[in-house]
């Protein structure tokens, strides 16, 4: 944490931040209440709209950088038969995300690996570049949380421009990690002051480790063919809820939506749980059943991704087990694997 700087923020820091950012024409996203009573990130123009207490947002950050459906380019065939190609220009406006959780922010590191691995994905990178991430350290993890089991922490600062440690009296301690973070602090003006020398970070919230990813990987290395996959996937219905709510899942499909003479190329989310995900044109499907698809999901997160990028593709947010229609429990499954 050599470069990190600590600041103290007064109780009205949130209001100052929203007001200052909005005044500067910056788009602000913060946790708000949805009409169905959940908490999710949405554009705010006033600090009143921001929800204070929540375990995590319903949706991870992913969709801000890899939207569910994103126009990559548009095309139109002119009268003379020429085709006009128009790459979709990304929104260049500055964006600040206030109050996301460290696990979701950490997931950006995994997405960065994917989208900047052999080729820098322009659409993704533009969004990354314009965004300042101000995360909020967790004080009360939810029962589904297991970031500590996958190398994270309730107050991890990975990928976060500013990490905020909120206090009960609405004052906060802010840990600034990047230049973008510095800019954010500047905008807060009077609401922040540099923390006194020697200010200590609070103790992270306690969160029990529920499995050991190394041990899990060890078993995965040897057990591609195992009854475990069939037995534990019987309940799986093959929907995309777990993937779509996962902060790190990043599979996509590219479709052309065209009418007579014009169209657009879109990048839409896709999901390895879907039965057609690997269906070949020949009719052959290398992952012919849900067991194979369930295995793929686990293998990808805990074996293939770490092997390729040195990172687990799981940040322990627990959304998959919280939202599964049939109560498929990733923690239990991994604990089971570990015990084998």
């Amino acid at each position: 944490m050599g470069e990190q700087k600590l600041y103290q923020a007064s109780a009205n820091w949130l209001k100052s931040a929203v007001d200052a950012l909005c005044a500067a024409g910056v788009e602000v996203l913060a946790p708000t209440q949805t009409d169905s009573g959940k908490v999710d990130l949405a554009r705010v123009t006033s600090s009143e709209q921001v929800i204070g207490s929540y375990a995590n947002t319903a949706f991870p950050l992913k969709r801000l950088f890899l939207p569910m459906s994103e126009v990559l380019l548009k095309y139109e065939k002119g009268e003379n038969g020429d085709v006009d190609l128009e790459p979709e220009s990304a929104e260049a406006k500055e964006l600040v995300i206030l109050g996301c959780r460290p696990c979701d922010v950490a997931a950006l590191g995994m997405l960065d690996k994917v989208f900047q691995w052999d080729y820098s994905d322009v659409a993704y990178q533009q969004k990354r570049d314009r965004t300042t991430v101000v995360s909020l350290a967790c004080t009360e993890p939810s029962p589904e949380c297991f970031c500590t089991s996958v190398g994270g922490s309730p107050q991890g600062s990975e990928q976060s421009d500013v990490l905020v440690f909120g206090n009960a009296d609405n004052t906060a301690l802010m840990q600034v990690n990047t230049a973008k973070g510095e800019k954010f602090i500047e905008r807060l003006a009077d609401a922040v002051t540099p923390a006194p020398e020697g200010t200590k970070l609070p103790e992270p919230a306690e969160l029990e480790r529920k499995f050991n990813p190394q041990k899990v990987k060890g078993w995965l290395d040897d057990n591609f063919e195992s009854d475990f996959w069939v037995e534990n996937s019987l309940g799986c219905l093959g929907c995309g809820t777990c993937s779509y709510l996962c902060p790190t899942c990043h599979c996509f499909d590219i479709v052309d939506e065209a009418s007579w003479n014009r169209g657009q190329r879109r990048r839409n989310w896709d999901c390895c749980s879907f039965s057609q995900f690997t269906l070949h044109a020949s009719g052959h499907n290398p992952r012919p059943n849900q067991a194979a698809r369930y295995r793929q999901r686990l293998m990808h997160k805990f074996k293939y991704f770490p092997e390729r990028f040195g990172l687990l593709a799981c940040v322990g947010c627990g959304r998959c087990l919280k939202n599964c229609a049939v109560g498929q429990n990733l923690i239990a499954d991994l604990a089971d694997i570990e015990s084998r």
């Binding site: 969709r63 939207p67 569910m68 459906s69 009418s259």
Partner: protein
């Protein structure tokens, strides 16, 4: 020219796009007869021939709206006269239920018409098309569908 007048003249310039699914044996033949009888009808209607009104999947109707239709018409044989005995009865069930669904979802039912026009009813076809074209003209562009993409989440 006042703005209202301008709007009005723009509106009268504007031609609605009406997609019509016509069964081969009755309505298509009826439209044909209208032509043979030299009965004119507005060119706003774009005819798609199907073997039977019972072949019109409700999704065809929705697809037409997606592709910019301002109104969709499905027309078949009168009940009892279906060339295939019962296709129009099936169509009647499905399409009327479908229309209720559209209405439930907030889509103006007037945008979706169903009619029976027999092969002998060239005159009915001609007057029907005139009537619904006038209605489509009055309803204006189907912006509900045209602008739907604007509500796209980021």
């Amino acid at each position: 020219m006042s703005k209202e007048q301008q709007n009005k003249s723009e509106k009268s310039q504007w031609q609605p796009r009406i997609v019509a699914f016509l069964c081969n044996w009755c309505s298509y033949a009826g439209a044909d007869l209208a032509g043979m009888s030299r009965r004119g009808y507005p060119a706003a209607i774009k005819v798609i021939r199907v073997p039977c009104s019972g072949k019109v999947d409700p999704m065809f109707v929705l697809k037409s709206f997606e592709r910019g239709a301002d109104m969709v018409l499905v027309s078949g044989c009168h009940p009892g006269d279906c060339h295939y005995a019962s296709g129009n009865y099936h169509a009647r069930r499905k399409l009327l239920a479908f229309r209720e669904l559209l209405d439930f979802l907030g889509i103006d039912q007037r945008r979706f018409k169903i009619s029976w026009v027999s092969a002998a009813e060239g005159a009915k076809w001609s007057s029907l098309v005139k009537e619904i074209t006038a209605e489509a003209q009055a309803l204006g562009p189907f912006e509900t569908f045209a602008t739907m993409l604007q509500g796209e989440p980021s």
